[in-house]
Amino acid sequence: MNKSGRGAWPYLFLTPAIVLFTLFLAVPIGYTVWLATRRTKVSGLGLGRGARKEVFVGFDNFSAALSDPELWHGWLRVLGYGTLVLVVMLGLALLFALLLDSARARLARFSRIAIFLPYAVPGVAATLLWGFLYLPSLSPIRDVLDVDFLGASTVTYSMANVAVWGGTGFNMLVLYTTLRAIPRDLYEAARLDGASELQVALRVKIPILTPAIILTTVFSIIATIQVFTEPTTLRPLTNTISSTWSPLMKVYRDAFVTGDLYSAAATSIVIAAISLVLSFGFLRVVRGRAFGEG
């Protein structure tokens, strides 16, 4: 690493990223905040020019968003759905990664590729596949199991299944890659001391995996809070999913159906704030990684 900055070159190389960052990240965020603190005020009968004015209303939209029962229901639904998805998906990802790395599994390569395959299936297509698999008229599963997958009480589980199916493979790969980077003699030492495969997994591998598990958890939380594609795609197949099933669906409806941009902006900031609070651990994990230089 040379001490000088080589003048303007690094800045020149970073110009495209900085321009894109400004246009598609900084400005939109600023615009959202600006919208979230304003409202259209109608004076008189709301007719004629100047009868509708945008005025500053401070935190009114936020307090409205926070006290909106519909949105709270959405949060509760996503909390239930998200907990289910995170626990099952990351649990399975960890289990499969440890099994792949264990010396005793056969057909590991085939299984690894098969379990990672759903990653290449778009969320819309995944929901569509499972949606049809849930339909009584088509489903091979219904031939065996007599369960109504699209009922009011089961639809959340059915949706969680789609997310688990789509997300397990990627998280498994992250954890498995981390495991493969560990020097093998670490386990050999434990095995010579008479530790079983299971003890090695629990006492040696899982502690080493902890940062990677935290990382995948944070990314999964951010993704799960924004759940939109699956419930939106499943809606045409069942009447148990409302147009405001998840907070993000409500943002979409406010912005593009009812045309209340201000409330949509405030709600999206609330969603972002909750994501940020939950994912603050992430940067601390990343910061621990060496970049080769400080």
């Binding site: 190389f13 990223a17 965020i29 005793r104 698999l133 980077a181 045409p236 994501s275």
Partner: protein, 290 residues
């Protein structure tokens, strides 16, 4: 290739140990669970509308060719258009994204300059911003400049990808020796030349990985094109399939069309996925593919 060597010794070691029924069985169960819907849609896509509801759910049908020609005839071949659009968005977007990420990663890894950490942290902070906060104002801003409902509205917001910049920086740190850059500088090469003659060629394997992940991410994106586009001639496959489902969910006679569309939209990605196996790495710090 270091990984192969390690894998071979690992396999040899595995061969000496007894193999467990439980680990193998559990992995196969996982594999069956993951493959089942894909295999089922392959079977369902071969059935004529009549066969779909009458024949056994796991038996192949005879209507695949009919389904495909029906799908391509659907609204004057709009499905082809969706497929082409998806290629433009995913291919073009991933190429631009990889270029920007690689150059940014190189600059952040190999130069010291005032504001470096600030710029890096700002760019990385973008990972934490949920797409929802951006999509609506992005739509409004595109509307203001008259670019909503154009290809640009879907392409441009997906070029900057903070996580790819982070990966590119790690990769550049590991793959480009400082001594090589110094030697080039002593020989009087310009920084521009060093970047595209020395740095970028060394970063190619990492760039392939970044390209693949971005390609899949853009291909699979639904929210952004769903918000930005109104004209279905510009839809990518995801939004197209969704509208197909919306119009056909209550008409079982259209189910074979929807299932065939879903199946055909999976084929290219799965092919890419299987042919590029060795580049799907989530850890770029190990010097990756040699």
């Amino acid at each position: 290739m270091a990984t192969t060597h390690r894998a071979t010794t690992h396999r040899a070691a595995a061969a000496r140990r007894p193999w467990g029924v439980a680990p193998t069985g559990l992995l196969l169960l996982g594999a069956i669970y993951c493959l089942f819907p894909v295999l089922w849609v392959l079977i369902a896509a071969t059935k004529s509308p009549g066969e779909l509801f009458t024949t056994s759910t796991l038996a192949f049908g005879t209507g695949f060719a009919d389904n495909v020609s029906q799908l391509f005839a659907y609204r004057d071949g709009v499905f082809w258009l969706w497929a082409a659009n998806t290629l433009v968005y995913a291919g073009g977007g991933a190429l631009l994204s990889t270029a920007v990420s690689a150059i940014s990663g190189y600059a952040l890894a190999k130069f010291r300059f005032p504001g470096r950490n600030l710029i890096f942290n700002l760019l990385i902070g973008g990972i934490l911003v949920p797409a929802v906060v951006l999509a609506i104002p992005q739509y409004l801003l595109f509307s203001k400049v008259g670019l909503a409902d154009t290809y640009w509205a879907v392409l441009l917001p997906q070029i900057l990808h903070p996580y790819s910049i982070y990966l590119a920086r790690i990769y550049a740190t590991a793959a480009i020796p400082d001594s090589l850059l110094e030697a080039g500088r002593i020989d009087g090469a310009t920084e521009w030349r060093l970047m595209y003659r020395v740095a970028l060629p060394l970063m190619v394997p990492g760039m392939v990985t970044i390209f693949l992940f971005q390609f899949v991410a853009i291909w699979n994106n639904f929210l952004l094109p769903f918000i930005m586009l109104g004209d279905d001639g510009k839809f990518p496959l995801t939004v197209g399939l969704f509208t197909l489902l919306q119009s056909g969910a209550n008409q079982p006679s259209l189910y074979n069309l929807i299932l065939t569309g879903a199946f055909l939209s999976l084929v290219p990605l799965i092919a890419l996925f299987l042919t590029m196996q060795r580049y799907w790495k989530t850890d770029l710090s190990s010097g990756a593919v040699k």
